[in-house]
Symmetry: C2
């Protein structure tokens, strides 16, 4: 895995040899981005069946349950992780031959990755018509290639629009505390020749006033049936500012990010992370302390944007437009569950 | 001067011996906060007349013009600086005796400082009734004692309300890029026993949803006749979020921050600072690089909040409530110009 913690200062590749290594890579954000986490977790199970010395089929199934549970404990908010693990579990369900189990796990894991790559491409193509030539797109966190198994989700829409010849520029929020915008979106945009301007999160409102923002796009970590969206902390603020400035707020959400069991965003579990992430910042010289070491902190990793602030949900199967206060639950369910 | 750049990691006191030293302290943000800048600039002129070897009155007047111009070039947005310099210039106007000039400059400079201290106290007393027992107050940047010659402006209102026995808590935005909230507001609140929770700027919106913010208060660097407010970058975003969540947004603005020559906020000169302030962060280990070193950056130090987002302007002479789209220009002019 390319270690996302070291970017943009260094390209460090991690050699992970077991499930525990991948689990820790997810927990420490060496790999992050909801679809990328799903892909990494699935591949960890493929790696496991290729390296384990267990030969008895029943023992292997039990062991895979344990390994799957370990991966499921890494991060609570992104639903793709659980979908990816479920896909692998379903593939091996009922198999009683250890070779068959191995093949099923590897195939299922590779399918998770391939499907995500294809989903990114399709999502970008569905979203591109929502961007016009000359658009200035505000985005938060990182939703590009590093965050997925393909070209990205929200940033993938920008890439698809630019591939159609539209002059689309990006204004990237640095996205404190972990600075995915400063570190990863900046890096990927520079690398791929996408015009980008980096700003701090507090500059977002003034950017609507003075930089002529015409669209805001965010990714999603979990989307409920009515279209409430959990995503990186700060997304809800971007949605509010888009509303105040009458700018469309679009959410790029592969169907793997939908959780049809939930209706309301208030039911989404929000991961709260360590206070020191806020008190400190990590740069090329390591962690540096910004605030008094004993100041109380609130550090939710995600926030929830109510559906009525979301203009459209862009999926790999098409675009859902909101027509009332929330999205149509039947339309969402139909889109996500159709095979 | 207490070097605000070193806080909260160390209390470093600067011994400044001439106007150039003070000018550089203002430019490098060793001293910051609109009223504190005004006080420091005035005292720099007092220091100058006490140490200069010029004895000829005409030469001294000319020299003071040069020194004043140097201080006026330090920072463009905060109007207090120019008011403070003007007050000292007016005091020495027409004087032809060098001792008289010296006394006039020192007296005027001390009056700038004393008046600001008294203004802070009065402003806090006028603002305190706007806060209720149990209020959770979102604030941005630093508006406490360090930023003024007294107890502070926006934070001074919190102090006055607490002194009245109201349980008022503070949620402080870290205020990137220069982190005045993380470094200074946190430090001052901890030191003075004001309950404070530090969050990143992107968490503001979710804090309205989940931390029960009931008031937002900001300071001001320049206020126009209709009540448009220039203040630290991010303030406009707080105002937008207050609007969306139907929470009063209050601005603490001593009359010295009003610029009656301006009507519209779009006429306020907005200082843009170096790109590296955004690409980097300064912590206890010095500057660390967060982003690619060549990523394009936009770094406005202030933003402009249109009057219609401001519920009330709290001054040392009383509170102005907005009744229409903007504040009443006559009422503002009357309040600011009455002696």
């Amino acid at each position: 895995l390319l270690d996302q913690r070291a970017l943009p200062h260094a390209e460090v590749w991690l050699q992970l040899r077991d499930v525990e290594g991948v689990a820790q890579a997810i927990e420490t954000l060496a790999v992050r981005g909801a679809p990328a986490i799903g892909g990494a977790a699935a591949l960890a199970l493929a790696l496991h069946v290729r390296t384990t010395s267990i030969v008895d089929a029943t023992a292997l199934q039990d062991d895979l349950d344990v390994q799957t549970a370990r991966l499921a404990r890494t991060r609570p908010t992104a639903v793709n992780l659980f979908f990816a693990l479920d896909a692998v579990t379903r593939a091996r369900h009922g198999l009683t031959d250890s070779d068959a189990i191995r093949h099923a796990v590897v195939d299922a894991a590779e399918r998770v990755v391939d499907d995500d790559e294809a989903a990114c491409t399709a999502l970008g193509n569905h979203g591109a018509p929502l961007l016009a030539d000359g658009d200035v797109v505000l985005t938060i966190c990182h939703t590009g290639a590093l965050a997925t198994c393909g070209q990205g989700t929200a940033l993938g829409i920008v890439k698809a629009a630019r591939a159609q010849g539209k002059d689309v520029r990006v204004v990237a929020l640095e996205t404190r505390p972990l600075l995915q915008g400063a570190r990863l979106t900046s890096w990927e945009c520079l690398r791929e020749g996408i015009p980008v301007t980096l700003i701090t999160d507090g500059m977002a409102a003034f950017a609507f006033q003075r930089l002529g923002i015409t669209r805001a796009i965010a990714g999603a970590d979990r989307v409920t049936r009515r279209g409430d969206v959990a995503n990186k902390i700060g997304t809800y603020g971007v949605a509010c500012l888009s509303h105040v400035h009458d700018v469309p707020f679009l959410v790029a959400a592969p169907t793997s990010t939908f959780d049809l069991e939930l209706v309301h965003g208030s039911d989404i579990v929000i991961e709260e992370r360590a206070a020191d992430e806020v008190r400190k910042a990590r740069g090329d010289t390591g962690w540096t302390t910004l605030a008094p070491v004993d100041v109380p902190v609130w550090n939710p990793a995600f926030d929830v944007t109510p559906a009525h602030f979301v203009h459209a949900l862009v999926t790999e199967r098409g675009v859902l437009h909101r027509t009332r206060e929330a999205f149509d639950e039947d339309a969402v369910t139909q889109l996500v569950t159709r095979s």
